[in-house]
Each structure stands twice: as structure tokens, then as C-alpha cells.
Assembly symmetry: C2
Homo-oligomer: 232 residues x 2
Amino acid sequence: MPVRLWDLAAAEDDRRFSPYCWRIKLALAHKGLEPETIPWRFTDKDAIAFSGQGLVPVIVDDGREVHDSWAIACHLEDQYPVNPLFGSAQARSLAYVFKFWTESTIHPPVLRAILNDLYAALHEKDKAYFRESREKRLGKTLEELGADPKKAVADLRTALLPVRQQLVQEPYLCGQHPGFADYILFGPFQWARAVSPQRLLEPDDPVYAWRERMLDLYGGLARKAKGYPVWA
Amino acid sequence: MPVRLWDLAAAEDDRRFSPYCWRIKLALAHKGLEPETIPWRFTDKDAIAFSGQGLVPVIVDDGREVHDSWAIACHLEDQYPVNPLFGSAQARSLAYVFKFWTESTIHPPVLRAILNDLYAALHEKDKAYFRESREKRLGKTLEELGADPKKAVADLRTALLPVRQQLVQEPYLCGQHPGFADYILFGPFQWARAVSPQRLLEPDDPVYAWRERMLDLYGGLARKAKGYPVWA
């Protein structure tokens, strides 16, 4: 029985936009696993009540429930040691630091850059939940947060400096081969691609070339997904 | 013959404050090496002209010159594989990302927090060079840069979020044992400690407990160095 993954969807069932779920879809492909994905909306709390919490990704693997993208990555690494996502204990610890860096430094400007498009793409039943939860968490209205996408894009490009330096010298953040840190950083780019025509990177940016490589992985898994392929 | 290390000194020969040299002193100790350190000032360009450039750290190991702290770490890892600084190719790549993160995110607020004390501690012959090079690089006068140490400390504590999350769950950034990423982050704290009584961290901060562990490593190598041990 394949791994089952509850995967955040927009108004359309096949527009999947969660950066946290994208990490996991790439990690599953990295391990050679083809999950059955179940479209899920923010307000479908009952559907994942069995996990004891209300957020995706949630997986069921061989009868075992795992939630939280980091816990899922560690579960996959420990259950399927072939094709390591980390490669050493030190790499796992540094990827954990990298996760918090990405979520605190890269996710916010990407969100501000795509927020108007993201809100428009949501399922109608999710819009009130999304507005209330994000406005509470971020202390601003969605209109304030999405007021200056141009500045958000500029902030994003500045924030990418540490990864850009690495991508000048190796093809992936994790070196010659992609690893979980690559999937962590790719998440917010695929989040944007799923819902917005916003151009986040210039073609001469080493991060752009890396993103192209990421879109090509696993038979074009991310490139084929519903989104705005205006970057090509 | 021991490794020789040219090591930045303040007015006093034994007040060593370079965050880049501290990385290397801890990496050498990690490898069980006891270097001969040579006090050096910013304006002693002739003394390291043999390296083809003008910055420390510079080492000579078995007749071979290596400069740039990252190149030195890689040299040590490749020449002395026992006690790995990285542990895997992926960890080395992620440590390289971490290096740029630390230098772009942690070094600037530490510098602003300690700048007045740092300038006062410099050797007289270095002061004009330091002022001119830093004002040119940073686009502000030293007085402007050092005008609000309190805000700099607040900015630093905010910027430490990604590493704080890791240090809640493991004793070191690199996991159960320190690695080069720990030495990279420790550099700016030891930079501060060498020249300034400024209190950068609160004792209940997990980063504070980590810094205590770092000060204890290798027989208290960093703790015994000349500085301001007001944090205890």
C-alpha cells in the first residue's frame, strides 16, 4: 500500500501549494516512493483529526501516522535509508537550522510577494479561516501584507545571499546531489509557482538555475504540477 | 614542526579578537593540533605578503601556505581526517551556507554592539586603517555604526532564532558534538568577548548555554583567552 499524504489544495483539487507539503513530495520521490495524495483544505480539520492536530502534511505509512514536515522527513530517512536525505548526523542538525532560517527569512517575503494571488486562488470555504489565522499570526491585514509585492521580491533576493554563494560553487545546497535542505528551500518557490505569476528571480541569478534543476527532478514532478510556468 | 597561524591582535599581543581566526584556532584544537600563533595587526601587510594577499587567518602547515578561513578548514579536514569537522559532503556544503548566513546576519549586529570598545582596543597603528576600511565597506562612520549598541544587541538576539531552535534540542549546532559550523558561530561571540564588556545574551537563552559549552572546549581554550569574562 502506498504512503498516503494529505496535501493542501486551492480551489481546484489539483492546485497544490503548501511549501511544507512540497518538501515532503520531493522527499518521497527522493526515496523512490510514489504516494497517494489526498487533496485537503485548511478547514477540513475532521479529515486529519486522527493525527491529533490540524495541519498538513500528514502521512500514513504502513499504518503509522506521522505529521509535521520535519518529523516526516526523519521518519522517511530512518525507515528508508537508501538515498539519504541527510547523509550524516551533522547534516541533519544543520538542515534543521536551515529549516528555521528558511521559514523565518524566505517564507515571509515570498508570502508578501504572492499574497493577493494566493488569496484569490484559495477555495472559498478556506478564505475566512486563512484571513483570520494569518492576520492574527502576522499582526497585519492581508491587504497591508500584500501591499508591496515589488519590495517583497527585492527583500527576497537580498535574503537569498547565503544560499546564492553556495549555488555558485555546487549545483545543490547539499552539494553534488539534492538533499532535504534543497527541498526545504524549494518549498516556498513552488508555493509561489502554484498560485502566482509573480517573477521572483532574475534568470542570471544562480538561484534561478538551481530552481530549474529542482523543477526537473524526478521526471519533472514539480514542473508538471499545476501552476504558472512563466519563469521559463 | 607545529602549524603556524598569523592571528589578529589588539594593542596587547595576547588580546586576539578576529572571529575568523577564532574559527581556525578551535578547528585546530578539534584536530588535536597545537599551533604556534604569531600576533599580527591589520597593517602588518608585509608579514603575510608571502600568502599573496593581506588578511588573516594565514597558516603554514608542513611548508604549505593556506589562507582564508574556509580554505583552511577544508585543508585541515582533508589533511587530518580524524575527528571530522564536517562528517559528510552534505554537511560541508550546509556549513558553507551557514558561514555566509553568520557573516551576513550575525557579524553585523555584533560589530555594532561592540564597535566603540573594539576601536578603543585596537593597536594605535591600526586605527586609521580600521576606520577607513570599515567606513568605506559599510558606508557609515564608525560613530554612526556604533551609536546604538542596545538596538544592535536586540537585533542580534532576534537574528539568532534559527540556531536557538536547534540548540533547544541538541547541545551543538552540529548535533551531539561540535563541528565547524559551531566554530563559525562562536567566532563573533569570542570577537566580542575579547574586546568588550557588552552583554550579548541573557542567561536563560539556549544560545548562552551553548556559548558556555564552547568556552569549555579543549581545556577552556577560549575561556582562558584574554577578554571580558563578565558573562559568567
